[in-house]
Structure formats: structure tokens, C-alpha cells
Amino acid sequence: MTIASATQQICFLVLSVTLVLGALGVVLLPSIVYSAFLLGGVFLSVAGLYLLLNASFVAAAQVLVYVGAVNVLILFAIMLVNKKETMAAIPGLPLRRVLSGGVCAGLLVLLLRVAFVTPWAVPGPEPVGEEATIRIGEHFFSDYLLPFELASVLLLMAMIGAIVLARRDVFSSDVITGEPADQGLLEKARTPLLIETPAPSPTAGPR
């Protein structure tokens, strides 16, 4: 895809502004649902930047995986845990925010100094352009074959792990004793240990 430089710059500026404002909205907005939708906008802007960099396959993967899967997953999680709760105030929270903002600004200055001081070897070799998808396929099935296969194993492990973690009744009986020992051992009905309430009897020891 070769488009004029001025068009590229306009697209880049629009995408950058969308990206930065969306990212700030994700971390600053009080409503978590707005944050999740803005996160989808951020992912779409990043996909647009990949298109500007002539990487159509990665842009498609970004839209499919991030917008289609991760963002929807986050929205589902928000719906599942969306209980109105007022977070208890913490002393020194504004100070903490300012301090961490300072640390992040310092990190930003450091990164920008590296980016602008390093003499990058531009213009580099001729970019691959439209053949990027073919090259990625060749990489995946030749020199990156082992990471490619390991990624499939990782995805399988993540899927099984997510199912085991999110279900309540995976283990219907204890492996050793045979007693019914599901994850209800950790459930809230039977967990005085996990909820921060004072111990019911004065004879109980300190936690």
C-alpha cells in the first residue's frame, strides 16, 4: 500500500490523537464500562498504525484477537463482577498518584531520550511492503517453527487453566481421601479466613 506522504501524516496524526486520548481515558475515567469501550478504540487505532506500516496481516490479527476476543472478554468480566461498590478511601492516595505520575514521566523522558538520541540506521533496507504476509508464513514454518508450535501449546494450557480457575465444580472429590472437596472449600459460605471480619470467638488466635 503506497499512499502519499501527506495522507500518511494526516492518518498518523489522527490515529495518534485517538490512541493517546483513548489510553488516557482507559486509565482515568471513573466508569469501567467506558474504559473498556475506549480500550477497543485504542486497539483499533493500533491496528490502523499497523496498516500505515504496511503490515496488513498483523493489523488483521490485532483486530481479530484484541478487539474481537480480548476486549469482549474484558466486557464479559465487567458484566460478571459489576457490583456497585464504594471503594474505601485510602490515606495518601493523591500523593501516591502524583508520585507514580512523576515516576512514569521520568520513564517517559528516558524512553524519549533513547528514541531521539540514538542514531538509528534510517533509511534502512528496502521494506518488504505487500509481501509481508508471505514472509511471515515462511518465518512461521521455517526458523520460527518451534515458537509457533509452543504458542499452540501455550494457548491450550491457557484455555484449560482458565476453565479450571473459573469453574466452581471441577474437582468433585478429593484425589487422596475421596471426600467431596470441590472448590467450595474456598467459597464464601465457608471462609471466615478469607473475609476480613473479626474472629467470632475471643479465644481464636491472631490471624
Binding site: F57, I78, L80, L112, A115, P125, L155, L186
Partner: protein, 111 residues
């Protein structure tokens, strides 16, 4: 503006690096300061996207025919998807046990 644009030049590499740095630092700030656990996961996704922009920019500007940065970016996307799935499953399990998503109350392993 810090971007040294003129009308006829292509976009410099530093513009992408600047954008990625801003995105990464926003993610770090959100990761430190979020009270809501879902927002922490979103901040992690922001940081991963910042790193991906760096990889893609270097791949396009400096790597020529071997587009290793794009391959790395695809692996990062894969790992990020797995991380999001497991992280949200942990979050659901945690929410069932503690009935909150407040990060300040997840201190069972802290002290």
C-alpha cells in the same frame, strides 16, 4: 509539537517510538494506580500494545526483507490473549471469594 514533520517527508521512526512510549507510560501509571482489578488488566494490555508498536516500527524501518518484528508482534499478541484469559479467570475466582474487585483488599499474600 515534537514531531519534525514537513509535508513531503515520510513519517519518521521517532514518531512511532514517541507514541509507543506515551502508550507504555500511560499503561504503567494505570497499572500502579488502578483500584479496579479489571482496569489493571486493561493497563497491561495498553503496555503490551505499546511494545508491539515499537516492534512493528523497527520491523518496518530497519529490518527490510526479514520482518522479524512482525513475527515477534504476532507472538506477543498470542501471549497477550492467553494472559487475558487466565487473568480474567483468576479475577472471577477472586471475586467469588472476596466479593470485591478492589486491588487494595487483595492483600492475602502481601503481609
Amino acid at each position: 509539537m515534537m514531531l519534525p514533520f514537513s509535508a513531503a517527508e515520510p513519517i519518521p521512526l521517532q514518531a512511532y517510538l514517541l507514541l509507543a512510549a506515551v502508550l507504555f507510560c500511560t499503561g504503567v501509571w494505570g497499572l500502579i494506580n488502578s483500584r479496579n482489578a479489571v482496569r489493571v488488566l486493561m493497563s497491561i494490555e495498553l503496555m503490551l500494545n505499546g511494545v508491539n508498536i515499537n516492534l512493528m516500527a523497527f520491523s518496518s524501518y530497519l529490518d527490510g526483507q526479514l520482518i522479524r518484528g512482525q513475527v515477534f508482534a504476532i507472538f506477543v499478541i498470542t501471549v497477550a490473549a492467553a494472559e487475558a484469559a487466565v487473568g480474567l479467570a483468576i479475577l472471577l475466582s477472586l471475586y467469588r471469594n472476596r466479593e470485591t474487585v478492589d486491588m487494595e483488599r487483595f492483600n492475602l499474600l502481601r503481609w
